[in-house]
Symmetry: C2
Subunit: 241 residues, 2 copies
DNA sequence: AAGCTGGGCTGACGTGGATCAGTGCAAAGC
DNA sequence: GCTTTGCACTGATCCACGTCAGCCCAGCTT
């Protein structure tokens, strides 16, 4: 019962107390279901609460005036979503489930109580937020200064590292529900080009992404190619041991 | 004495108490100087404290393997920098003053005390962090899905809005110490192309950026062109009035 | 006075990735 | 069974930007 994805993830950073784990477990039990494709949150929505993903994949995105969209990031089990909207009062992005999703709603009051009563857990929440922001920065750097292939490779490696932390993948590979269209919107490319890049990476013997399955054929080679440095994910092990 | 840029900025969001203002004022008085061009923080640095900028411009950036760099954002008076590094224990980016800079160091202990003793101020700090993240997202969307001219225009508008909030600019324009090289590294372009884009925008009668001065020749036209929506900056006025 | 440096600025040319306009296939719906 | 829909995949063509290679000017050095 204490083994929810969020508890696993946060435990990798902060040694949580019994009480912390109970709070998380209570949240975890309060899950709601969301169908794939129907937006959970849309831009401009007010008084939005946050969620913790328990199962499934979600994406956060923004639409631009010219009709295209940019996916800002994917949330997987153990991730918060919409945390930023709580303080900004208005959501600045849309949130759409990629697959069927189970998630627990976390209201502003829940958050305040966490900050009030479980200081160690609140540190962990802030850590998770910092880590999400670090991923955002890495994403920005990738789109700004890496070419399509490096960017794609980097994304797959980062995603693998995140999934591994919640027990959903290994260094060998992971199950990936993303279409090439979604990948394109996340990487700032066209789906046509994503297709070509995936072929190149496959033919170079680095990664294979087929039938919803990502397989690392040469993990180290790929990491070198993508200039992937996992330091920003901060898996140095728990604080306050 | 209560009129530091940070106090101005946070007051636009949260109605601060006398005590909150005193804490801010004490921080503000504790300034240190930094020379332009010499890094204040470098990637991988441990146990880094945060800073609040009082005067001057700063940029946060990352270098990539192929020798180019991506500027993640600029910090102007009233902005935090390096907040994320506090919880991640290791800085994930470099920080360089663009001009001569005055900034106050904020240690982890200072932050803990703020969270402990001045709850309203801590809300304001978290709001500022959320706003910074929203700007990061907007930056990501720009690089991923907007073309060079739209992106440049958007950047200038956003920067104007931020400066205005701390009394350093108006709807008419602002003083801007950025070279076209810095602009290029921030926008994910080459400096050559930045130059051309700035000329286009000038010839279209939208903005003029010359001699360290940005002048909006047609503010509304530019905002339309750039698809600039200031909602994400959340200037709705203070909470808890 | 001569040289150097750091901006801004420019034309010619090359290219990574977008766009267009498809094909093929498997699963779902009627 | 036939049609529709969604996704993977492809070749041909185009163009937004990058790269290269320079010029010019202002402000510093020596």
């Amino acid at each position: 019962m204490f083994d929810s994805p969020i508890a696993r993830k946060l435990s990798a950073f902060v040694a949580l107390s019994e009480e912390d784990l109970t709070v998380l477990s209570d949240l975890h039990d309060r899950r709601r279901q969301f169908a794939a494709g129907r937006d959970m949150v849309h831009e401009g929505q007010k008084r939005q609460s946050a969620f913790i993903v328990a199962k499934g994949w979600v994406c956060s995105y923004k639409n631009t005036a010219n009709g295209s969209r940019q996916i800002v990031g994917f949330q997987i089990p153990g991730d918060f979503l919409g945390l930023r909207s709580v303080l900004l009062r208005t959501s600045d992005h849309n949130i759409e489930p990629v697959t069927a999703v189970e998630a627990s709603e976390v209201t502003t009051d829940d958050l305040l109580e966490i900050f009030d009563r479980t200081p160690r857990l609140s540190t962990a929440v802030l850590w998770a937020a910092s880590r999400d922001e670090a991923m955002l920065v890495e994403h920005l750097v990738g789109i700004g200064r890496r070419n399509a292939a490096e960017r794609t490779a980097h994304f797959l490696l980062e995603t693998a590292a995140r999934l591994k932390l919640v027990g959903l993948g290994t260094m060998a590979g992971f199950a990936c529900p993303l279409s090439q269209y979604l990948l394109a919107d996340a990487l700032g490319l066209s789906s046509v080009h994503v297709n070509r890049v995936l072929r190149e990476l496959r033919e170079a013997g680095l990664v294979t992404f087929q039938n919803g399955q990502v397989t690392f054929d040469d993990f180290d080679g790929l990491a070198t190619f993508a200039d992937f440095d996992r330091a920003y994910l901060d898996h140095d092990g728990p604080l306050f041991k």
